[in-house]
Symmetry: C2
Subunit: 216 residues, 2 copies
């Protein structure tokens, strides 16, 4: 059992991951800039699945409390959020689920990040943390339906093997997800780029896609 | 039955696609800068599966003969090859299977293409052709084993719906492949980027990966 903070934890993806991590037995703290919204999001998860260890807190308090910290903000808010939390994140495992994307007229567009990807940008801002990227392609809708098995592969990228292994274990604690070792953090750009394609397919096919890698 | 030229048709991917298109009943012309190598590659396919309609020809002759033209060169040689063939490709369906990648110490690296992707670069060079991108993630090794069913999804991107539909039909003529409508040609960048990730996984897991999109 690990205490996991989710920064940007009141959005659908953050809540969905929080629900599943708590269902796996972890203590989850949903972080938000607004303490009231954080508490409300935690209450919402407890209504879905009573008895979980889920609380809400301001982002900094959530990060301070936790052993592992998940970054689940929109890309636009990622860098300032991380910069504000740098002291709280030192020495910790930080999991970026952010894809470097923006939306133009509802159409997902990749953003060219000088560091290569959102995750590499985070790693550059947090030299004293271990940064791993994962969970880019998991449907928030499915995560938030506790009776639904969440199918698909989660590509996990990171430069520290132990930290990457811990995240791969976390992935597989979410029922039906499979962890795939995506290599170093510089591969996160490919995983983040795939998010744009899946979002576009979701819109065109009016569905929720996920990825399965064949041949592993 | 369509006559399909494969430019850069003597490499493993070109030969593999040529074999499968010919097995589907099409007339295939493998193109090369070197007429002798093109003929030898055609003979090699005929040895694998006698009775196919497969010939070899210099690239320009192959392109002139064909109704549809597949571009299957390494990215490095793509632009000069296309420029040399522009008159032969006017008015034709052109299928780019090229990913904008290079290799550094065996490690696949995306190349930043000003147009966004290899396929968009081709479209810019060929304003009088209909350019569709497809087949980025299909294992040449599997294509060249005629008894092997080639599993996976082929993401097809293009701006002309009729041409894209023709390519999607071609995809599904290769047994076990599924065509996925990947949207406009500006989505090809995501599909091409995914190639780098798959090649990296192939190396790490010592396997040949393919992609299946769940939820379609």
């Amino acid at each position: 059992m690990v205490t996991i903070a989710i920064i940007g934890g009141t959005g659908p993806e953050g809540r969905g991951l929080g629900l599943r991590f708590a269902m796996a037995g972890h203590a989850v703290v949903l972080g938000s800039r607004d303490a009231g919204r954080a508490t409300a999001a935690a209450q919402e998860l407890l209504a879905l699945w009573p008895g979980l260890s889920v609380a809400g807190a301001p982002n900094a308090a959530a990060a301070n409390t936790a052993e592992w910290v998940v970054l689940s903000t929109p890309y636009d808010g990622l860098a300032p959020t991380v910069q504000a939390l740098t002291p709280s994140l030192a020495g910790k495992l930080v999991i970026s689920v952010v894809s470097a994307l923006t939306f133009q007229g509802g159409h997902p567009r990749p953003i060219e990040v000088p560091e290569g990807s959102a995750a590499q940008q985070v790693a550059g801002l947090l030299p004293a943390s271990q940064v791993v990227s994962a969970f880019h392609h998991v449907s928030a809708h499915d995560l938030l339906a506790p009776g639904t098995e969440v199918e698909g592969d989660v590509i996990v990228c990171g430069d520290a093997d132990e930290a990457k292994g811990q995240v791969m274990t976390l992935v597989e604690q979410v029922r039906s997800l499979r962890a795939v070792d995506g290599g170093g953090l510089d591969n996160s750009r490919h995983s983040e780029a795939l998010t744009a394609l899946l979002l576009d397919l979701n819109r065109r096919y009016k569905t929720r896609t996920a990825v399965r890698l064949l041949g592993l």
